[in-house]
């Protein structure tokens, strides 16, 4: 499978000025909201330290907490399943639905089910799946994956959404009023919710002490998916476990502030037990997480609470669009997670960063994201995944820059040098650099030559 060419996808996104500008402004407004919100909490940095420590502790004792969760949840009357990978997860969901003859599934947004490609799996088996969250539903109707882990349709303008709804629901394409659009969604989705046989959600947290699965949402659709049908399925990545409700309090304070700059979301729901006469299934999914936990450099990405703050602040993500990464998780956190899902396919992602470090600073659980991006570049070289042209240029640069006499020839203003010079100065021929900018002109005399003439 060939590598995702994020740079090319991003270049295409930038060519369409309207969307790039809209997306950048929207994302930056979330970063600003996050800053204002963090400023209101004097102990903000302390909370980040605490959150990081709780995650580190939990991940270090993951087996124990997972078993505690299983015991608590089972005591509450839930049925706990273990899935090694995406396929196992999807099969478990299909089997549960099958047993109940459930054909209509409603679902709230879950990045894990995106990761497992659960929707197409079920649809191929005759299950009708309806996303109930606004953003995710828009993307479903438009047959696109999420462009952002918090707001799947952030990349779409109101006009785009009006067009999607006009196509799907026959609504007025010229009406871009957000209230009107939200009503279209509600009118067309509510009936599907009412007649659903089963509901599915992801989880923001799974509390070992209580056996509850916790969702943090604004629209409340997780509550509809979780409470309306008698059959409820929750998919939980194993890294979502936290020890207790005391720990949860720390994360709740950080999550929506980091994400959208609000102190709390509309709904923080604890799904603790099946409703009367119903069933509640919790699927604990590994899908590569245990393997990542064993990676000395890269386990910290498992601390992620999916707030999206690193994406909102990332200047590359904001100008590339979320779809450019061609992956379930995108932006800085995606760059450091995705290579564990396929080293070749995601080999270019670590280079889609300027290593500016803003992502690490906003991360509520203090993942050293930009340091991990840097480390992944090294891995790509070790695994021979650096593009040949770049690798060759680096080898040449390494040769020239370690030999003063070669360096001198390369930098002296001669015919030879002009061929060699750009290779180490800006890594390749300056064509790419000069496409959108003027290239710098070598000075008539280098500093070396000046020094020799004036000081030696």
């Amino acid at each position: 499978m060939s590598a995702i060419d994020q740079a090319l996808n991003a270049a295409r996104f930038i060519e369409d000025r309207t969307h790039e500008k809209y997306f950048d402004a929207l994302m930056w407004s979330l970063r600003e909201a996050r800053d204002r919100s963090a400023l209101e909490v004097p102990e903000w940095e302390e909370l980040r330290d605490l959150a990081s420590a709780i995650k580190e502790h939990t991940l270090s004792n993951l087996a124990q907490y997972l078993e505690e969760f299983e015991a608590s949840a089972t005591r509450n009357g839930s049925q706990v399943h273990w899935a090694l990978d995406a396929h196992e997860h999807n099969q478990i969901v299909a089997d549960i639905l099958n047993r109940h003859g459930a054909k209509n599934l409603i679902k709230s947004k879950s990045m894990l089910t995106e990761e497992c490609e659960t929707r197409p799996f079920l649809e191929n088996r005759g299950v009708s799946v309806t996303e109930t969250d606004l953003g995710e539903r828009i993307q479903q109707l438009d047959d696109e994956p999420p462009a952002h882990i918090v707001g799947p349709a952030f990349q779409k303008t109101p006009q785009d959404i009006a067009n999607v709804f006009a196509r799907a629901y026959g609504s007025d394409a010229s009406n871009t009023d957000v209230v009107y659009l939200a009503h279209q969604m509600r009118e067309h989705t509510r009936p599907l919710i009412e007649k659903a046989d089963a509901g599915m959600t992801g989880a923001n947290f799974a509390v070992a002490e209580t056996g509850a699965v916790v969702t943090v949402t604004n629209e409340g659709n997780a509550d509809l998916s979780g409470n309306v049908p008698k059959l409820r399925i929750c998919s939980v990545g194993i890294e979502k476990i936290i020890p207790s409700n005391r720990d949860l309090a720390v994360f709740i304070r950080l999550l929506s502030r980091s994400s959208i700059g609000l102190p709390i979301t509309q709904y923080t729901s604890h799904f603790r037990a099946p409703r009367e006469g119903g069933e509640m299934h919790i699927i604990l999914v590994d899908n590569g997480r245990s393997a990542r936990l064993g990676m000395e450099k890269f386990w910290p990405s498992l601390k992620c609470i999916r707030c999206g703050a690193c994406m909102n602040t990332c200047p590359v993500y904001r100008r590339s669009g979320g779809l450019s990464y061609g992956s379930t998780y995108m932006g800085p956190i995606g760059i450091i997670m995705m290579p564990t899902f396929g080293i070749r396919r995601y080999s270019e992602l670590p280079f889609s960063s300027t290593l500016n470090g803003s992502c690490s600073n906003v991360c509520p659980v203090k993942i050293d994201i930009h340091e991990q991006i840097y480390a992944w570049r090294g891995v790509m070289d070790e695994k021979h995944q650096v593009k040949l042209a770049k690798k060759t240029a680096m080898a040449v640069a390494g040769e020239v820059l370690s030999h003063p006499e070669l360096y001198r020839i390369a930098t002296s203003a001669t015919e030879t040098s002009l061929k060699l010079l750009p290779r180490f100065a800006i890594y390749n021929d300056l064509n790419a650099w000069g496409k959108h900018r003027e290239t710098p002109e070598p000075a008539k005399q280098t500093f070396h030559q000046w020094y020799k003439e004036h000081r030696q």
Partner: protein, 248 residues
Amino acid sequence: MQIGLVIPCYLDVFYPEVGIATLELLERLGVSVDYPFDQTCCGQPMANSGCESDSRATEEHFIRLFSRFEYIVIPSGSCTHHVRNKFVAAPPSAERDHVSQHVFDLVEFLHDVLKVKEFPWGEFPHKVALHNSCSAIRGINMASMSERVHDAEFNKPKALLQAVKGIEFVEFARHDECCGFGGTFSATEEAVSAKMGYDKLGFIEASHPEYIVSSDMSCLMHLQGCARRLGTEVKFRHLAQILNGDRQ
């Protein structure tokens, strides 16, 4: 006091005047400057691209030339960040550690070591937009970071420039957002890189400065490339040139 001066490869080739200004400034301040003539580069371009093995010989060469100095001064936050925090391509040695622990950006050396409070020869009666590089801000902590909203604000390059007569600073939006240079990123991801550059330039130009100033010329090389393509009038200077007394 004797120091070892590093003039980064891109300054050597594209901006020798910045190297000269740095050398002259240090000498004005009574520092004895040794410029090891065989120097080339710190190895960052290769290491930054993941190709650590290709930067090994260059880093070893750097260590050979500079491990004898008590102070190693570079007029570049980006190279300083590499030598201080990412200098691991060469095998561990006392010399390697010494180099990493004794390297200073020019701003740090003036602000923290020499504690220079005035530049009597300096005068720059112009409106200036100061751009600090991400390496300077988040790599080696030369200024407070906008994401860390509770930290006390500080800005070492600005503190130095404020001592120059006549200088006037203009503020601009998203002041510490990355300019998009990013080393090899500027070539491998040229579309995003250039877009970031034009956006940065747009935010800065909205405050109508005559000069864009930085202690990292690599950011300016990129922004200058964008400005030239646009045909805008704004001028670019390295901090060392202003501290050394350039009037324009």
